[in-house]
């Protein structure tokens, strides 16, 4: 049943996501074609420069749109399918509240990570072969020297894992805020937004206190950008697990016990 729920959640937003991806990639390709002409004619103005500027701006808009609309579509699907009129069908299916939550989380993450991959691909399309190391001079050498250990070390893997876990937890927090909001009689969306910002503030404070209290390294040193000690990773993983329990468990409990369909 979980697989079926994920299938329909992915299908629900498929057309809009594919449309956005198509526009972004086409925009990247179009801008890339024009930019390579501009780079070759840097000495003088030409009409190509104006077109390139317009296309670059369009591309930036498309890039931001994919990020923003990605979250909007995923959250909208969660809200409408579970707490709108469609909830009368969703919650009478022979599935548990936990299956609903897991399906929405996984399908949401698939779309959000997919959006991120498409954005990276679009950037690669846009900048491949256009800019070279020589154009940035010795600044590029310094950047490469600074970040090379991170690129080659195990810290990158740990930081990537942490980044993925934090992405999962971020989405779960949004869902939890929506669940809290639907318990209100009126202004459910506003209540959800307030809950979200409230939780963000509280957890930021907690993380700040924990970091100050338990992490002994000098987090302000430049080296800390590329190498953290084990304690930092352990503490962050513990915080992620705690958040998953609160947000996931809380959402499921609300859906089981405090469902309040319109």
């Amino acid at each position: 049943m979980l697989g079926k729920l994920i299938k329909y959640d992915l299908k629900a937003n498929r057309n809009l996501f594919l449309l956005m991806y198509g526009i972004l990639l086409a925009s990247a390709l179009g801008t890339r074609v024009v930019i390579s002409d501009v780079v070759q004619e840097l000495e003088g103005y030409s009409n190509v420069g104006l077109v390139a500027a317009f296309l670059m701006m369009s591309y930036m808009v498309a890039l931001v749109t994919v990020s923003t609309m990605g979250y909007v579509l995923v959250i909208r699907r969660f809200y409408h399918n579970l707490f709108g009129s469609e909830g009368y069908l969703s919650f009478t299916l022979p599935v548990t509240a936990a299956q609903h939550f897991i399906a929405k989380t996984l399908s949401g993450l698939i779309w959000l990570f997919g959006s991120m991959m498409v954005q990276i691909i679009s950037l690669l399309i846009l900048f491949s072969g256009v800019f070279s190391r020589d154009m940035f001079g010795e600044n590029m050498d310094m950047l490469i020297e600074l970040y090379e250990p991170m690129i080659n070390g195990q810290d990158l893997i740990l930081q990537l894992v942490l980044a993925i876990l934090n992405s999962v937890v971020s989405l779960m927090m949004i869902y939890f805020a929506v669940c809290l909001g639907q318990m209100a009689r009126r202004r459910r969306i506003l209540t959800a937004v307030i809950c979200y910002f409230g939780m963000s503030f509280i957890f930021s404070m907690i993380e700040g206190v924990v970091t100050e209290a338990f992490i002994t390294m000098d987090i302000y040193a430049l080296e800390s950008l590329i190498h953290y000690d084990v304690g930092y990773y352990l503490m962050n993983v513990l915080l992620v697990v705690l958040k998953m329990i609160i947000f996931g468990g809380g959402s499921i409990l609300i859906m089981q016990k405090k469902l309040n369909l319109e």
Partner: protein, 235 residues
């Protein structure tokens, strides 16, 4: 001895706001193979009871069993529910809604659904948002009645539709249900529904007032269900 299709013991549901009582200490047992009318005026607790049966609400206290199961995935598997409102995605085509029901309900009979759709002249390629209110409700009814469920729970199925559509809905309910299954119909339009009912449950202010067969009301009180309803619920 077969398990009753519905058992409620001391069932109470309060709504947090204004301390409103939806249901109070309801004791109710419904047997299988019957068409039961859940009758009461607006705000009497009909929809509350239905939402408890379908798992859309949790009771404050008491117990509820559907076909012997606690309310959950197992009970939802045997219940086919038609709510009062349109609960389908308006952007979907009818054929995709059939796919959806076929995926989640092993007892969904697609051929039956397609036959009913064809008799109404509705194309499976149509999207719900292009249909009139009455047609949308008919599509919902087709989806619900195309399942071989043990318990059909229909919340106000004939409210807000024209008399011809009412006849169609009642005829669809009668002709497509499994004879061993039970149907719970909530309504306040007693006159239209009385001919199809086997039993009635009358509810007022969250409490059961009367549970009887239709024949029993005629024999004991010498009146129709409609007349009985007017007597029980007179202002």
């Amino acid at each position: 001895m077969t398990t009753p299709i519905l058992e409620c013991h001391n069932l109470t549901k309060c709504y947090d706001h204004a301390g409103k009582v939806g249901l109070k200490n309801v004791e109710l047992t419904l047997g299988r193979g019957k068409i039961i009318g859940l009758l009461g005026p607006n705000g009497s607790g009909k929809t509350t009871l239905i939402k408890l049966i379908t798992g859309l609400l949790m009771p404050q206290s008491g117990e509820l069993y559907v076909a012997g199961y606690h309310v959950g995935p197992l009970s939802k598997r045997v219940v086919s529910y038609l709510p009062e409102l349109t609960y389908l995605n308006m952007n979907q085509k009818v054929k995709h809604l059939f796919d959806y029901f076929e995926d989640f309900y092993p007892d969904f009979r697609r051929e039956r659904a397609e036959n009913m759709l064809g008799r109404l002249g509705i194309s499976p390629e149509e999207r719900l948002k292009t249909m009139s209110k009455g047609t949308k409700e008919k599509v919902q009814l087709i989806l619900v009645m195309s399942r071989d469920a043990e318990f059909y729970v229909l919340d106000e199925p004939i409210a807000g539709v024209d008399p011809a559509a009412r006849d169609y809905i009642l005829e669809t309910i009668l002709s497509n249900r499994n004879p061993e299954s039970s149907v719970l119909l909530s309504t306040h339009l007693i006159h239209d529904i009385e001919p199809v009912l086997d039993e009635v449950v009358m509810i007022k202010e969250g409490q059961i007032q009367l549970v009887s067969t239709v024949e029993g009301i005629k024999e004991r009180y010498g009146c129709s269900v409609d007349e009985m309803f007017r007597e029980v619920f007179k202002c």
